[in-house]
Homo-oligomer: 419 residues x 2
């Protein structure tokens, strides 16, 4: 079961003016399961995207980038719809994969009477198998038929693969007493690692934000949320995070960082993205612990993130966490080899750093802290939420990453996924 | 059980003139178990070492480097002995760790009547706990008492931690009908990854090789053996590989690459180091499969090694291997994200590379090979030894790495290690 991931309260999820969502059961991999989602976006919206850096990126990712470029080049006026299927990733599918992704957009374009280039396609699921196009295309009219503004919770279910629970979050900010709504959904449970993972994230707001500024914010928010999580260090072929601003709110436009209310909005968007990113870790394959790694006092953010992920990816640390074992030695070893991936850490002085489990100082001066007794560490490890903090004392930069433990069930889920 | 690791045949392990080995049961972690080893080295031998790059390197590693430097600076005439304890790594032990390592050398020096600086100390086992010095020092006279030339097989047992089986290998080469003997032992099962791992390796030969040339060869051999293996991507604090050349053979000296018989000797030494490195993988924690990843046609060796380890470290690939699942999608995804750790791979063309399981072409042109049927892939996966080959078609460099699968038992062993 997910670690401290509360069930979605439908009343807490606000619809976004300018966004309608419709789903279908199209039997792509399983029967009687929502597996196709269409998101309709009102004319005049800004739409930004961040995508996987995997060289084997999926055909739909390539097509998304092309269609977003068409907006930038004014070949089309904007993005009008997203279409997402689960059960099959359409990745590692060669030329036919691209033909299928284009056909999906073209069929949906006819049904919705919009340009095919104004549609962003997404796929998630098994790699290297061709999409069952007949089933997928047959589902599209059903998804369009039930487009409504308040389908967000069903939409969160419609994009799940190995997820145990759907993931959705809403918040509101007000500027001059005018409300801005922010609502998002995400999916992902394994093959999670920056930059990015088998994760899909969609956040919409009715705020009014010009395209170029939304692009800038989206990149920043991604680096502070979805690019700070790891289940297993595997970066998938299909990861995508999309932010939509419909501009339907009556609040004043947010055109730059000095716009009135911008910082409140930014914090609301960041809270939403971080909630959705952390929800993926809470629902990590086989996870029994939610682990936060804070690294402080680094020379650069890269140093802090590298040490954070060195700890957060280590199978030895993660199996110790599964066992609620306060095995500080494995954490120190992971700090020690972080220099493999970040050259500036080659002169890291291990005698001046401090390691904390929760607020308990466990290691300093190159060894176990004199004040530490293992009962205190054990109490921290017994909890479902574990905080690890490394204070490097060599600079002013810091980073936080989120990860989960490594359990029998992780092996079970991934050894049996295709059977 | 280890994957295809034959039991040591004592008759196949040759002693090395100039080397004597003695062990003791000193109850460092377990009772009635060999856990202390002394290796005596004849005057006039060359001794070379390669050590972990972990910033939290253990006190004995720091002391080894210091003593080897003393030889280089002619402060002492050479290395006369090695002392190795298992059960406790003396790592993350701060200042007291160094005091203990020095005391170990000083006590042994008195017993053997040699300088303390001529002794290299090694420790392996639990991190962050202080060595039980009374037990260790009490064991030293017993180890010295039973020094003999033919203790190699017992020595292989005396350095084990979570290893299931001892690891030893011998070979011979002849130059002008004069024999050169090469014999080595290694230990390690988890926390295995370059550069290097919780592994110890000791190889001795009676060949006559000057110190500087032995240093050069040792580094090369390490890069082609112990630095090509990964169990879990964790690099330990204590890894060390030592090569000793006693010069007692009547074969002509090997002073440079053009020396008569050098290439035969080099191949024998490489065979020994690779056997011992692969034996560690065969005995990898929870391993049920031995996996060889060949990467060919790369622009640089770094590209080839990075892709090899990207596949060999992926928990998704390793759990699929455990399940005998020919899941080529996960292998392709791991190739695709290798650019995270090797910038030149950012322009890798995934449409021109080929992927083979055994000799079966499984993927080309960015997707599944048209000729591939899954029964052929399944037959390859069902075996205990699996070869994966990636042909990049972008250059002439190549690398081979060795790894194992990821099983329930890996989690079990590492979740329960301290209990």
């Amino acid at each position: 079961m997910p670690v401290n991931l509360p069930e979605i309260n439908p009343a807490s999820i606000h619809s976004i003016d300018g966004i309608r969502l419709g789903w279908a059961e199209s039997n792509i991999k399983h029967k009687n399961r929502k597996d196709l989602l269409v998101i309709e976006i009102a004319q005049g919206s800004s739409v930004s995207g961040v995508f996987t850096q995997n060289r084997f990126c999926a055909a739909p990712v390539t097509l998304c980038k092309k269609h977003l470029a068409a907006v930038k080049n004014n070949d089309i006026t904007g993005i009008n719809a997203l279409v997402i299927n689960t059960g099959n990733a359409n990745a590692g599918t060669g030329e036919k994969g691209m033909v299928d992704a284009i056909a999906t957009c073209e069929t949906l374009a006819k049904i919705m009477a919009i340009p095919a280039e104004s549609i962003l396609p997404f796929s998630t699921g098994v790699i290297l198998e061709h999409l069952p196009m007949d089933k997928l295309l047959a589902g599209l009219p059903h998804a369009v038929d039930n487009l409504t503004e308040n389908n967000w919770v069903d939409a969160a279910s419609a994009i799940m693969t190995t997820d145990v629970a759907p993931k959705a979050f809403s918040t509101q900010v007000s500027i001059d007493k005018e409300l801005i709504n922010i609502t998002g959904i995400s999916k992902g449970a394994g093959m999670i690692h920056p930059n990015m993972a088998t994760m899909l994230g969609y956040v919409a707001t009715d705020a009014n934000i010009p395209q170029a500024f939304l692009d800038e914010i989206t990149k920043e928010i991604t680096d502070l949320s979805f690019n700070c999580i790891s289940v297993d260090g595997d970066t998938s072929t299909n990861d995508s995070f999309i932010v939509i601003a419909t501009g339907k709110s009556t609040a004043p436009a947010l055109t730059n960082r000095n716009s009135k209310g911008f910082s409140e909005f930014y914090n609301g968007l960041l809270e939403t993205a971080q909630y959705l990113a952390k929800a993926i870790i809470r629902d990590g394959e086989g996870a029994t612990k939610f682990i936060t790694v804070n690294v402080k006092g680094a020379l650069t953010i890269d140093e802090a993130k590298t040490i954070g992920f060195s700890i957060g990816k280590s199978p030895l640390v993660k199996t110790a966490m599964f066992a609620s074992d306060p095995n500080l030695g494995r954490v120190l070893a992971a700090i020690g080899y972080a220099s493999r991936e970040c050259k500036s850490l080659e002169n890291l002085d291990t005698n001046t750093l401090e390691l904390y489990f929760g607020d308990v100082l466990v290691a300093e001066k190159g060894g176990r802290a004199a004040s530490y007794n293992e009962d205190d560490g054990q109490a921290i490890m017994n909890a479902a939420e574990i905080d690890i903090t490394v204070e490097l004392h060599r600079g002013n930069e810091e980073a936080t990453i989120w990860t989960c433990d490594f359990s029998y069930d992780y092996v079970k889920i991934n050894a049996e996924y295709r059977t």
